[in-house]
Amino acid sequence: MIHSPLPQTDYMASGHVGCPGCGATVAMKFALRALGEKTMLVIPACCWAIIAGSHPQTSLKVPVLHTAFATAGAAASGLRAALDMRGDTETTVVAWAGDGGTFDIGFQALSGAVERNEDFIYVCYDNEAYMNTGVQRSSSTPFGTRTTTTPGTNWKHTRKKNIVEAFAAHRIPYAATASIAYPEDMIRKFQRARELKGGSRFLHVYATCPTGWRVPSDQCIKIARLAVKTRAFPLYEVTDGVRYTLNHDAEPPLPVRDYLSVQGRFKHLTDDDYGEIQAMVDEDWELLKRKVALAPEEARA
C-alpha cells in the first residue's frame, strides 16, 4: 500500500486550528515523522503557538514547552541542560520558531545559543512575515512583498536576511534549508540533524502561508516547489559553517517571475521589479555556487 521509504508515524494530531493549507503545519508533520517520539519542542510566540492547541488541548504527541517570543534559543538551552543533568541524552530538544522569532526578536538568543554550540535543533519555519499577528513584515520578508506594515507603494524595498549564512558565520556544525515540497530531502535533513548530537543544528524550513501570501490553499506545496525551482529558496546544507552541499540543482531554473506572479503579495510588481529580483536571485545563487565549489562536502553515501 505504501512504497515510501519515509517514516510513517505522525506525532501531529488532527483538529488543530491551522488555516486550511497551512505550510507550517505540513512542516511540523514532516519534522516529527523524522524526529520521532523522543523529542521535546520549545515553541515561542508564533502561529505554531496557536496551532499547537490551547489549554487543555494539544495537537502534538510530544512534549511541548511554550515560551516567550524572543526566547526559543535560550529556553531550549535550559531545557537541554536540564535533560543533560537528568542524564537523558537520548531526547532531542527542538526549538520551533517562526521567522519573526528567529530572524528578529529571537535572533539574539539564538545567536548566543549557537555560539555556545548548544546541543539542540533549532527550526525556523519561514512564512516570511509575522503571520500570527496579521501579516506584518519581518526581516525575512523578501524584497517586493506587500504586508500590512509594508503596504501600497511602501512594499518592502530591502532584501530578506540570509539567515543560514548568519549561522554559518557562527560556524554552526550543521545548517540546512529544507522545503515542504521536498519531503524526502527535508526528512533526511531532520534525521541527519537528529543524529548530529552534541552541537547546534539549524534548519531553515520554507513554509507557505496561503493566508498571508494571498494564494489559494491548494497551491501550498506547488508554490514551495516553485521557490526551489526558481532558486528563490535553494536547498542546501552547510557543515561547520564552511562545507556547502547543494541538494537541488534547479537546472535549468525557472524565471523567478513564475514564482512571484502567482502570489497576491507580489501582484503589484512591475517588469522592472521582476528584473531586479531576478538579478538578486541570480547573484545569491552564484554566491552559493561559489561556496559549494570552495569547500565541497565529501560525498555522502
Binding site: S14, G15, H16, V17, S217, D218
Partner: protein, 579 residues
C-alpha cells in the same frame, strides 16, 4: 495547581466544519485507454509493470484482450498517439511493454487468472446457465469472441476455413512482424480454456440453417478473404498480394526474382513489399497519394524504405501490358487537390494526361479486400438488428437464433485490435442477451464504456474494480507534472536493414526486464492511484488514513485541496460541498 498543562488531543475539534469544498478519490480514464480499441487499463498495467509486478500486469491485460504478445506486435497502437507523456517528451512505449509482458507470460507459462474479474461470487453465478455458441472464423475476432464467451461461462466451437487458426494473424502478417510460435502460444491458451477449433470447416449456409439444433447463437467473424479488383486492363496478370502473403506463410515461395510493382499504400502492400525484399526481389510501391497519406503505419513505411523498397507516390495504374518476359505498367500521374477524405487524407485527381511506364517482372495488388462470400456480410438495416460500434446482432429470421457479425465485416477501423474489440463486444452482447434479453444490451454495454470512445471493458461488465472509474479523460493539463522528470523513451533492439533483408527473422526485438520497468515507470498512470501516497503525506490535517484503501476523514478535512493538487495523476477531485 491550575496551570496551562495540556494533554487532551485536539482531535475533539471537528475541523471538517470549516470545509466548503470536499476532496475525494476519483479515478479517471487515461487517454490511452480511451483510444485503445479494446480499452485496456493501460495506466494500471504500466503502474504494475513499473513496480515489476509482471504477472499482475499481464492479468490486467487479459481482462480486456487475450493477445498481448500479438497485439504488442501488430496493433497500430493509437494509445501512444494520445499518450499524455507525449506532451512532455515522448509517448510511453506502450506496445513494446505489452509485447514484453506478453512474451514473458509465454516464456514463463503464466496461468490464466481465476477468477479473472476478481469476484468469486460472480464466478459461481456464471458456473450455471452457460450457452453454446458457434463461431465462424478463427481470426482475431472469432478467437476473441470465443475467449470472452468462454470466460463468461459459455461453450464455443470455432469453425475455420483454413488449415490452421489465426486468420490474418496466421496468414496475412509476415513472420518478421509476428513469429508463428507467439501466435500459436496465445491461441493455445484459448484452446486450453475448452474452446474447440475445427479447421478446414467453413461455416456454410447449410450449417446456418441447422445451427439452432446445436447452438444458441452464432458469431460470424470471417474477415476479408478476397482482394478487391483493380478494374484495369491487364488485371489478370496481377498477383494477389494477400494470397502471396498466405503462400509465404504456408511455406511456398511463388516468387521468381527480378523487379516487382506492389500497388497500394496500406499495410498489406508494405508487408508484400517487405516480404519481396527478403526473397531477393526489388519491389516498387506504387501509390496514388503522397507518402504522408499512406494508410500503412509510418513506422512500417520507414522500415520498408530502409530495407530498400522504392516508393512511387502520386501515380495510379491504368493498364498492364506484356507477358512473361516482363510487364509494362502504365501509370497515370496524379496531383493533389485541396480536398480531403473523411480520414484526413488528401484527395487526388489525374494530373492532365501525364503518364509514365514502369518495367517490372511481376505486379502485386494490395488495395484492399472484401469478404469471401456475400452472405457473410451483415444485411443492411433489417428488422431485429442491433448495430453496435464493432458488431451487429441480428435475430436471424431464417436461422432463428441470434447471429452476431463481427471482425472486419463490421469494425469501424480494420485492425487486429478492433477485430478483438468486436469479439469482446459480441461476447458481452450475447451474454446479456442470454441472461437479460436483447433489450438490455444497449444499456448494459453502454455502462461498460471506457472513457468517451467505443471501447468496452470486460472488467467493468463483470463489476470489477474498474467499475468505479470515472469515464472523464485526464488531459495533460490536469496532471501535476512537477512529479515527472523528463526521461528518454526506451528503444528495443532492431535488426539492421542489411540483416533484415536476408531473412524473415523478427525485426523488432523486445525490451529487457530493466528497460521494461524503466519504460513503464515513465507512464504517468493518468487518472489512477498508484499508491504514491502524496495525498496522505501532504495533508496538513492528518486527515487521510489507510484502512485497506486510502480514506479521507471528513471530520477533520478542511478542504484545502492540497491532496488533489499534489496528486500527480489526477486521481482525486475537489467538489463543492453541498451546503
Amino acid at each position: 495547581m491550575r496551570i496551562s498543562r495540556s494533554n487532551v488531543s485536539t482531535e475533539i475539534n471537528k475541523t471538517g466544519s470549516w470545509r466548503f469544498v470536499r476532496p475525494g478519490y476519483d479515478e479517471k480514464t487515461a487517454p490511452c485507454s480511451n483510444a485503445c480499441p479494446v480499452g485496456q487499463d493501460i495506466a494500471r498495467i504500466e503502474m504494475l509493470m513499473g513496480q515489476g509486478m509482471f504477472p499482475a500486469a499481464w492479468e490486467t491485460i487479459l481482462r480486456e484482450n487475450p493477445f498481448p504478445a500479438v497485439c504488442g506486435r501488430v496493433c497500430f497502437h493509437p494509445c501512444e498517439r494520445v499518450c499524455n507523456r507525449g506532451e512532455m517528451d515522448s509517448a510511453v512505449g506502450i506496445h513494446h511493454l505489452e509485447r514484453f509482458v506478453g512474451d514473458l507470460a509465454i516464456e514463463r507459462a503464466y496461468a490464466l487468472p481465476h477468477p479473472f474479474y476478481g469476484d468469486e461470487a460472480e464466478t459461481d453465478r456464471r458456473a450455471t446457465g452457460g450457452k453454446t455458441v458457434a463461431i465462424g472464423g478463427a481470426g482475431p475476432a472469432g478467437l476473441a469472441a470465443a475467449y470472452f464467451l468462454a470466460r463468461l461461462g459459455h461453450t464455443c466451437d470455432i469453425y475455420e476455413a483454413d488449415s490452421e487458426p489465426g486468420g490474418v494473424l496466421r496468414w496475412g502478417i509476415p513472420w518478421y512482424r509476428l513469429p508463428e510460435d507467439v501466435l500459436k502460444a496465445e491461441i493455445s491458451r484459448i484452446v486450453d480454456m475448452g474452446v474447440k477449433i475445427y479447421c478446414q470447416k467453413p461455416i456454410t449456409r447449410d450449417f446456418m440453417a441447422r445451427a439452432r439444433e446445436q447452438y444458441d447463437a452464432v458469431f460470424l467473424g470471417c474477415g476479408y478473404g478476397r482482394s478487391l479488383p483493380l478494374w484495369i486492363p491487364g488485371e489478370e496478370k496481377v498477383l494477389n498480394g494477400l494470397a502471396y502473403l498466405h503462400d509465404i506463410r504456408g511455406g511456398d515461395n511463388t516468387c521468381t526474382g527480378g523487379r516487382a510493382a506492389v500497388i497500394g499504400g496500406g499495410n498489406t502492400a508494405i508487408d508484400v513489399a517487405r516480404s519481396l525484399t527478403r526473397l531477393g526481389v526489388e519491389p516498387i510501391l506504387v501509390y496514388r497519394r503522397r507518402r504522408q497519406d499512406m494508410p500503412a503505419f509510418d513506422h512500417e513505411v520507414e522500415m520498408a524504405l530502409a530495407e530498400g523498397v522504392q516508393l512511387m507516390p502520386l501515380v495510379a495504374p491504368v493498364r498492364i501490358d506484356g507477358g512473361d518476359g516482363g510487364m509494362v505498367l502504365t501509370l497515370q500521374r496524379m496531383r493533389t487537390t485541396r480536398m480531403e477524405t473523411a480520414g484526413g487524407r488528401c484527395r487526388v485527381e489525374p494530373d492532365g494526361d501525364r503518364t509514365e511506364t514502369l518495367m517490372v517482372d511481376q505486379v502485386y495488388s494490395a488495395i484492399g479486400a472484401e469478404p469471401g462470400e456475400n452472405w457473410l456480410f451483415p444485411p443492411e438495416h433489417q428488422p431485429g438488428q442491433l448495430r453496435m460500434s464493432h458488431c451487429i446482432l441480428w435475430e436471424h429470421p431464417d436461422a432463428r437464433l441470434p447471429v452476431v457479425f463481427g471482425g472486419d465485416l463490421t469494425t469501424p477501423v480494420k485492425s487486429v485490435t478492433d477485430a478483438v474489440a468486436s469479439g469482446k463486444q459480441a461476447a458481452m452482447a450475447l451474454d446479456t442477451r442470454f441472461r437479460h434479453g436483447g433489450k438490455a444490451i444497449p444499456e448494459r454495454l453502454g455502462a461498460c464504456r471506457v472513457g468517451d470512445g467505443t471501447a468496452l471493458s470486460m472488467e467493468i461488465y463483470l463489476s470489477g474494480r474498474r467499475k468505479t472509474r470515472n469515464p472523464a479523460i485526464v488531459p495533460f493539463s490536469a496532471l501535476n507534472t512537477d512529479y515527472f522528470a523528463p526521461a528518454e523513451r526506451q528503444a528495443p533492439p532492431v535488426l539492421s536493414p542489411e540483416t533484415r533483408c536476408g531473412s524473415f527473422e523478427e525485426v523488432e526485438g523486445a525490451y529487457g526486464r530493466d528497460a521494461a520497468v524503466q519504460e513503464a515507470s515513465r507512464c504517468f498512470n493518468c487518472g489512477i492511484c498508484n499508491d504514491c501516497d502524496n495525498c496522505r503525506l501532504f495533508c496538513p490535517e492528518v486527515a487521510i488514513y489507510i484502512d485497506g484503501t486510502r480514506c479521507i476523514n471528513l471530520d477533520y478535512c478542511k478542504g484545502c485541496g492540497i491532496c488533489v493538487v499534489e496528486c500527480p495523476r489526477n486521481a482525486m477531485t475537489l467538489e463543492e460541498e453541498a451546503s
